[in-house]
Symmetry: C2
Subunit: 222 residues, 2 copies
DNA sequence: CTTGTAAATTGAACACGTTCAAAAACAAGG
DNA sequence: CCTTGTTTTTGAACGTGTTCAATTTACAAG
């Protein structure tokens, strides 16, 4: 029962619409670029865009899926360059921010969509689970067999925490209007160093109870 | 040069529109309640709503201003009940969450507005500065002359950090669909305890360099 | 080549947030 | 009571995202 015959031509149309959308989003911003603009730029009728994408927001999501596919390819190379924990996390962050750099403004639209828990495209929702898990797993790969010793009981939850940390950084970056977003750069430099230090610190014998307390909070919450 | 004569009747109309809006927002949600609904409920024409409020989102902001006014009155009573740091912060949080409880869904709309750095109503923007400062100052009042000893160099920045912490909690609460939002409750219980412990811990002699490093990051960022 | 069916495409229509010129209500002075 | 200027109110109109019945196109089967 083949439900989709999807010709090559159809795939081309889809790509043309998405490309037109991204171009216009970047030129004029998400709100300013209208679906009629996008369709015209792609050389199709307005309704055609809705044949390929559920909504205007879905176009942004399609962009995100694209970057995720790209990241999947680049990831092994990026992670393989060092076994130092800090350098590895840094490499992941650089990859992500590098991908988003040209579309910083578009990220506002992405977050505005995701911030609604009821929205299917929310980063905490069901539909985005695979991508989220993949992203979290990339941090898991980064910490395993790294040179920094990580307490056993922390190993399970740390990837998720780092993912959350990354989300926070992206949020900050969105708001950062300093030239070339150098404030975000400084924040990453400073905070990442701090975090790695805290992880090392938390491995000290006396820190067991405090660590346990933190992990208890985490497990009670999810 | 009195530019606004604003009669009593006009003020009543404004209040009626805002009340209708909040009622409908709560009944049907922000997106589902249309401006035409709101106007009809208030017994005015559609355009009237735009005479008193710049936009639909502005109605949400007006609600927020209302709660802030209310909080200003309740604050002294709430803070005066104890000198214990944890209890005080807890009291502030309880006040905030108590106010928002009935309108949890509406908060999504509020955050969706605020997440856009370019939007005038963004919580980090110019227009919301007074309210933000007031909120930060409430934390400043809570830590001064509390029983917990707070390192001198930390005293300036801690209020802002706590404000950020509060924002994070509100975000979590927004996504929390557990019965009566008990997961948020647990998170507050656990994290607040942790934070107060960390503050105490950071006051230990050996922690000076780490504290300084953190403060350096903060100052480099803003 | 013809035909039947699914995929692809169209463009008018809908509901929405928002704007605005015009009308109405109101206040103050004569 | 008029007149004049300001505040308030109206409702039609605009541009938007989105839907959908209708049409055209693509292609496999006969």
């Amino acid at each position: 029962m083949t439900k989709k015959r999807t010709t090559v031509k159809a795939e081309e149309t889809r790509a043309r619409i998405l490309d037109s959308a991204l171009q216009l989003f970047r030129e004029k911003g998400f709100d300013e670029a209208t679906m009629r603009d996008i369709a015209e730029e792609a050389g199709v009728a307005t309704g055609a865009a809705y044949y390929y994408f559920r909504s205007k927001e879905d176009l942004v999501m399609a962009f995100y899926v694209r970057t995720a596919d790209e990241a999947r390819e680049l990831f092994p190379k990026v992670i393989g360059e060092s076994r130092d924990l800090q350098k590895r996390i840094r490499a992941i962050l650089d990859l992500k921010f590098g991908q988003f750099a040209r579309h910083r403004r578009l990220l506002v639209a992405l977050v505005r969509i995701g911030i609604d828990p009821a929205h299917p495209l929310s980063p905490f929702g069901k539909e985005t689970e695979p991508m989220r898990d993949e992203s979290i797993d990339s941090f898991r790969l980064a910490i395993t067999d790294s040179t920094t010793r990580i307490p056993k009981d922390l190993q399970d939850d740390l990837p998720r925490l780092l993912w959350l940390y990354q989300m926070g950084l992206i949020l900050f970056w969105m708001f950062d209007e300093s030239p070339r977003q150098q404030r975000t750069k400084k924040l990453i430099d400073g905070s990442l160093d701090l975090i790695v230090r805290l992880i090392s610190l938390s491995a000290l014998p006396l820190m067991g109870p405090l660590r346990k307390r933190m992990l208890d909070v985490l497990s009670a919450v999810e």
